[in-house]
Amino acid sequence: MEFKDYYKILGVDPTADAKEIKLAYRRLARKYHPDMNSEKGAEDKFKEVAEAYEVLKNDQRRAKFDEIRKYGGRKDKGFEPPPGWQKQGQSGSQYNEHMSGDFSDFFNSIFGGQGRSSRANGNQQAQRGQDAEIELPVFLEETISDTQKSIEYMLPVYENGQRKDVKKQLKVTIPQGVIDGERIRLKGQGHVSQFGGKTGDLYLHIRVVPHPIFDVQGHNLVLALPLAPWEAALGTKVTIPTLEGKISVSVPPKTQAGKTLRLKGKGLKGRKSKEGCITGDLLAIIKIVMPSEINEEQKNLWQALAVKGAFDPRAEWGAKK
């Protein structure tokens, strides 16, 4: 077992007073807290720091640790509890649950591993199993109706005290109208409680996969509609893709780039409710595209247009030719 020097972890002197210890903890907690720092390793670092603080902020535990430190610090070959050492009794209430409560073996060997034991909460008979969360990629097409999906995730199973990760499969219905970032709850599909409590839940964190053609704005879909310059000038009829098949749309003459054509009811669908469901629109934004190749004949046609066009697209700038 590895000896942990909690003073070193917090970067304080063994003679540091409670105020210095608190300050050192706060600095490190702010830096490494997994809710603030998503970098790899930050969570482990934070756990270490939290464990060190859990011990050093409490006079009794600190005194016990100081004693152990004298003994453990002299040894090079890892830490063994001193002979005849007694784990601290079950005075659980002074140990609060910390985050997921998983302290190191070193901590547990000294303080009896009841860092997670007590919750002051009376409405729970036994501690629930942990919740699990997985990211679930969902295609835009799958959000416009209830969709059945098979999901797979890993859950730890304990056999004879050994932890083993086992693959679990479920069939679920993803309700119409789910949005990116939403969480769907599946009761009792999380971790099994090791303390005889209820099984935890599973959360599906919805990730809507970016679509090759459409972008999402609330319930609306946005589509870039490419037109040739002459189509924009003369007007045309185009076939536009939607999530539910193709539709034909008229583009009026003299259509500017950036203009939006709103196709009512061709967007995303909201959640089903008694009042029905909200349906968004499809917004087709005009984009004018030049052909990449121009032959001699076409060049002459553009030339004629340039002469007869009498059009200054930069008139707004007030620049005179």
Partner: protein, 100 residues
């Protein structure tokens, strides 16, 4: 087929997050979570993501030793940041469709 839930009652929220109903009320008062309906605690329903935010709030309060007001500000800023990052990514994607 496993049953999916997209909302959660205040009673259940209290069970899965391990806090008393009074704490849930406090979290609502500070705007950390928001019920989808009504004034009465007994009938409150929340988005299931509320579980995630309450767990985060409890962690922040305990681990950083900050009060509820500070927690609510941190949560609010985290949610804003998340929304802005999402919006920014969407705009970047949309912009690329017009510049390529």
């Amino acid at each position: 087929m496993s049953q999916t839930h997209i909302s959660i009652s205040s009673t259940e929220l209290s069970i899965v997050t391990g806090v008393e109903t009074e704490v849930i009320v406090k979290l609502v008062e500070y705007g950390i979570v928001e019920p989808l309906n009504g004034d009465q605690v007994e009938v409150w329903e929340f988005e299931t993501s509320s579980v995630h935010w309450i767990q985060k709030a409890l962690r922040l309060r305990k681990d950083l030793e900050i009060d509820w007001l500070a927690v609510s500000m941190v949560i609010e800023l985290m949610q804003q940041k998340e929304a802005l990052e999402k919006q920014n990514a969407a705009f970047q994607r949309q912009l690329s469709r017009f510049t390529k």
